[in-house]
């Protein structure tokens, strides 16, 4: 997943199919009872599920619980899941539903202001190294902060879905098929406008 961390162009087709093939092998092995394969899958996909849970407005402890619950649920359904794309879609949807369930229990209210938006990140929590963000990235972060809560959540989830899996995951999320659903399309459209505005504002 590291290759997608950069803001450069996404990986090419061969990288993507390699990754999908590798995940398919791990999925088969996990179905066969390999704890090691299951461990590799959880290591690879848990960061995405963490983002899904946090995007739903959960606190850190609840988010960790929800990610664990999603994986535990998966064990009972592993036999039904045939391809990696279905695996990712299933996990994202299950994590999101579980996050909603926790929130609707009244245990946690969605914070009016997402605390993670309070400051432009310079580095990961606990990381030694300061990361220098360029103006484009700072403008992007300001633009995110101006989006509706719904668009923030949606784009945050989509940003962590591996590119070849957009189709199946957006279908699983209940967004109309096509490369982009209308909701996501509108959110992407909005952030493009906001981003342009932020960049213009800086130059003005």
């Amino acid at each position: 997943m590291d290759e997608s961390m950069s803001v450069t162009a996404p990986p090419g087709r061969s990288d993507r199919s390699d990754r999908t093939a590798r995940m398919a092998d791990l999925l088969d092995a996990a179905k066969g009872g390999s704890e090691d394969a299951l461990g590799q899958i959880t290591a690879e996909l848990s960061p995405m599920l963490w983002q899904v849970a946090r995007a739903a407005g959960l606190g850190a402890d609840d988010a960790e619980d929800v990610v664990q619950t999603a994986w535990e649920r998966l064990l009972s359904h592993l036999a039904d899941i045939r391809v990696p794309q279905a695996l990712i879609g299933w996990l994202v949807v299950t994590t999101r539903h579980e996050a909603w369930r926790i929130r609707s229990c009244g245990r946690r209210q969605r914070p009016a202001d997402q605390e993670w938006l309070a400051a432009i990140p310079d580095r990961a929590a606990g990381a030694e190294e300061q990361i220098v963000l360029d103006e484009q990235q700072r403008a992007l972060w300001r633009a995110v902060g101006r989006l509706s809560a719904q668009c923030q959540e949606l784009l945050r989830i989509v940003a962590f879905i591996p590119r070849p899996d957009y189709q199946s995951v957006s279908a699983a999320l209940g967004m109309p098929v096509g490369s982009i659903g209308p909701t996501r399309g509108r959110c992407l459209e909005k952030i493009r406008v906001l981003l342009a505005d932020e960049l213009d504002g800086r130059r003005a």
Binding site: S4, S46, Q68, R192
Partner: protein
Amino acid sequence: MKSPDDGPGQQLDELDFEILAGLRLLFELADPMPAGLPERVRFALAMRGLESEVARLVAEEDPRLVGARGTERSRTITFDSHSLSIIIRVEENKNGSVRIDGWLAPPQPRRIELQTSAETLAAAADEEGRFAFAEAPSGTARLVVVGAAPGDQGDGGPTVVTPALVL
């Protein structure tokens, strides 16, 4: 700038992908997953993966602490689960490995596995519930009393797993 609602066939363009990749980086910086979460998940799954009972350590007796006979170094550990108890005695062999003698209560013939990070050893409990691993590697391991597969003979209850123990 084109409309986002041109139809179902519309592809994301490179700017969309750049924005999404940029968001990914920013969210990873602003709110990274706690580093220990995958390990926590892996452990939780390992405990549940066999749809098994997890036995609880209920007693551990170390003769070195209660007055050992001679220089023999052995300890006795008892695990309890809903369907059975497992009692093991662990003794050090001269070559650094350990010998494990165990009993199941109630007594029953079952397949017993000793799972270590490197390998899985297998033994069979007899009618009296006795089993032994003559030479097991020292280190971290757990015992699995394997449940009967459908169609197997014997009354085989559910799979029972002990917590990891250091041999």
